[in-house]
């Protein structure tokens, strides 16, 4: 049987990567290109959508050339994208109206406070399963409609289109101004605050609440299924899968059964647990989101705990404090001591996300004494990732009641053995890393390949999953960390209190 390949585009926050996978789920070619981060004002983060589109075309063409496959051997394209990043563009010219407002952008803070004060704000959590927070796309779209003169009127006339990043790429790939398809996948749509998470349709009441004209919204489609044909590549390919990046990682980790969970450790960290076809509303500060949908099948849901700052704290240790030369050296520094020396760091750089949702909380270092060295600080930096994961897992246990037998991990921080062992000890459960660390792109490839029959079903994908490492909890350490957990909880409360207006 001749080999068949799937191309995945991972349109991330710092770069766009095109990766080709074979049927065994092995990585065959990778091309990557970074794009510029624009910071026009404090708290504002923007990307140029046209630069990202150019990088997508370029890296995809390069990766396709690298595999030098016979015509027809690369059979589908899947897309995973940075979530909640908001693009508004002109249907007639294809030009973005403004730069994309990135998910890290906090300009909608005051707008969200105004919206939250309205009596009908309770509608948002009921219908969307999400917090009314500036982290999601809807308030950003509203901001653009308010900020650009004439934008709302043009949007109402259908001249402007809205989309998250996958929507923008699919429209361009399928022809742009020449017949581009304006669609979004259901996982991305579930992050806008505009979709009813149960019916998976745009909700008229929510559109009213946010003041968004329906005419500019893309059609919501399943994550696994053909969205259109990419004509803007060297070879035409069916675009057969699209998922938000964290949902793609869940898919790539083959967490298809209720209770299965993964956490991706990057700049921030995102823990998603599959809750099956039932939406589990959170009473403990998590969000209920769409995990994935296969065409013609019911939607699968997930509970999600988003942590804003994990790897970013290591970067801070490196770039702002200069205590280490590279991110990996944090482990070397942390191993110069045997514990945290009583030191706790709460990295609430721009508030705390799950399970606290305290936008005004600010970071702190607690427990400083003259005994504390840079080694202890390095420990506290790594432990902050573990403690924050514990906060999220505890909320997840309380909400879903689904047992988490092991946590599947991926992302850059998983090469840190000290952190991975700490995670196993602080959670009291095994931590498992898969053989293919590129789970985001793999998930996009799996979605697309599944839609066109490269893989027969999700069981076939499970067979591709292999363990590359496992960390098991040590009973003594588990007990010691249980006893230390109240210190962390107290530090979190102090960071929230610090952010309150005096």
């Amino acid at each position: 049987m001749t080999e068949r390949y799937v191309l995945a585009v991972d349109q991330g926050t710092t770069s766009t990567r095109s990766i080709v996978f074979d049927r065994a789920g092995r990585l065959v070619a990778v091309r990557q290109r970074e794009h510029r981060q624009h910071f026009p004002r404090p708290g504002w983060v923007e990307h140029d959508p046209e630069e990202i589109w150019a990088n997508t075309q370029l890296t995809a063409a390069q990766a396709l050339r690298d595999v030098a496959a016979a015509p027809g051997q690369v059979v589908a394209l899947g897309i995973a994208n940075q979530r909640e990043t908001t693009v508004v563009w002109d249907r007639a010219t294809g030009r973005p109206l403004v730069n994309a407002l990135v998910w890290q952008d906090t300009r909608t803070g005051p707008l969200v406070e105004q919206l939250a004060a309205r009596p009908d704000a309770v509608l948002v959590r009921e219908r969307t399963g999400l917090e009314l927070a500036g982290y999601f796309a809807g308030p950003r779209l509203r901001w653009v409609l308010d900020a650009v003169p004439g934008a709302r009127a043009r949007a109402e006339r259908g001249e402007l289109l809205f989309g998250t990043m996958e929507s923008w790429l699919v429209w361009n790939l399928t022809g742009g101004t020449d017949g581009g398809v304006h669609v979004t996948d259901v996982t991305n749509a579930s992050r806008t605050l505009l979709m009813d998470v149960r019916t998976c349709r745009w909700d008229p009441d929510l559109l009213d609440f946010f003041g968004v004209p329906a005419a500019m919204l893309p059609e919501i489609r399943p994550s696994v299924g053909v969205l259109g044909t990419a004509r803007a590549l060297p070879v035409p390919l069916p675009i057969a899968g699209a998922l938000g990046d964290q949902q793609a990682a869940l898919f790539g980790q083959t967490c298809f059964a209720p209770g299965e969970a993964k956490c991706t450790y990057g700049t921030g960290s995102f823990l998603l647990q599959n809750t099956g076809t039932d939406l589990v509303p959170s009473a403990h500060g998590l969000i209920s989101t769409v995990a994935y949908q296969l065409a013609g099948e019911p939607v699968h849901y997930a509970l999600e705990g988003s942590i804003a700052v994990t790897g970013a704290l290591v970067q801070w240790l490196r770039d702002s404090l200069g205590l280490i030369g590279s991110a990996a050296e944090v482990e070397t520094l942390a191993r110069t001591v045997s514990d945290n020396g009583g030191c706790y760091i709460v990295p609430a750089f721009s508030g705390l996300l799950a399970p606290h949702w305290e936008g005004r909380a600010r970071g702190l270092v607690a427990g400083l004494t003259s005994y504390v060295t840079k080694g202890h600080l390095a420990r506290a930096v790594l432990e902050a990732t573990g403690w924050q994961t514990r906060d999220v897992v505890r909320a997840m246990d309380a909400d879903s009641g689904l047992p988490m037998e092991a946590l599947r991990v991926d992302g850059g921080m998983t090469t840190n053995n000290l952190l991975m062992q700490f995670l196993a000890d602080v959670l009291g459960s095994p931590v498992v890393r898969p053989m293919v660390g590129e789970t985001v792109s793999l998930g996009a490839a799996y979605a697309a390949g599944l839609a066109v029959g490269v893989w027969s079903d999700t069981e076939a994908l499970r067979r591709n999953w292999h363990r590359s490492a496992q960390w098991s909890p040590d009973a003594g350490r588990v007990a010691a960390l249980d006893a230390a957990y109240p210190h962390w909880e107290r530090a979190v409360q102090l960071s929230i209190a610090w952010g309150e207006r005096p």
Partner: protein, 250 residues
């Protein structure tokens, strides 16, 4: 193959010894560590000092690596950094070979496992990061010894430990094998550490060209060393180690 220049080889060994000591050594310790007379060691250090490859603390008289080496881009490579840079390639090697993968760095006559990828069959396996392996009886160890001939010769100072009946304990045979490893660029062992388990490994070079680690696969001898498997594995291991070296250079 033309003979090596002994004094350069010795100077390189001194530099390795300083790195492995954690950064600072006196002349007496250095002489003992590399097995040379103190006067010879002192002469070598004076030359290294003059070209800036070592520096001497004026208070203690102890030697550290010099700024001249940093200029070459071959400064001390953090083991955790090495793991993080090697991880994708090690995963891919395990995936393609079906074998467990280890990345080792030198620690005298032993090897520290700095990265370990499980054999991709989902059987129960223990993570071995941080454990020590004997250099003379493992493929990763032979690669590292081959890169440091003076260290390798110190093996002959004491009887070589036979870990299995297959361990090479004859010093002349072992040194000859290391010479082969150096020339062809990869090493193997067939049940010399644990009976029935073999390994194939290749060198990972740092930005300055020094061998900073060894990347290898291990598995049952009867599976690794059939003619076709051996050739395929050897190519995969060499390719993966070269990819990590390129990653370190970038």
């Amino acid at each position: 193959m033309p003979g090596t220049v002994q004094s350069i080889e010795r100077a390189a060994t001194l530099l390795h010894a300083i790195v492995e000591s954690g950064g600072q050594m006196g002349v007496t310790e250095l002489a003992a560590a590399v097995g040379l007379p103190k006067t010879t060691t002192h002469g070598l250090l004076r030359t290294l000092l003059s070209v800036g490859f070592v520096e001497q603390d004026p208070r203690t008289g102890r030697y550290t690596l010099g700024a001249g080496l940093l200029g070459l881009g071959s400064h001390y490579l953090d083991a955790n950094e090495l793991r993080s840079r090697a991880s994708n390639w090690a995963d891919s090697l395990a995936g393609r070979s079906g074998c467990a993968v280890r990345l080792g760095t030198p620690a005298g006559l032993q090897v520290v496992v700095v990265h370990h990828v499980f054999r991709p069959d989902d059987s129960p396996q223990e993570l071995e990061v941080g454990s020590l392996l004997p250099a003379h009886a493992t493929a990763v160890g032979k690669v590292l010894l081959a890169a440091r001939p003076a260290m390798a010769r110190s093996l002959t100072d004491a009887p070589i430990e036979a870990l299995t009946p297959r361990t090479v304990v004859d010093p002349a045979a072992l040194l000859a094998e290391l010479q082969t490893v150096r020339t062809r660029g990869w090493a193997e062992q067939r049940g010399e550490y644990r009976l029935g388990t073999g390994g194939i490994a290749a060198p990972v070079h740092g930005p300055g060209g020094l061998v900073v680690g060894a990347l290898g696969v291990s598995g049952p001898v009867d599976q690794l060393f059939t003619d076709t498997a051996r050739r395929a594995l050897q190519a995969m291991v060499v390719e993966a180690a070269a990819a990590v070296s390129r990653e370190l250079a970038s």
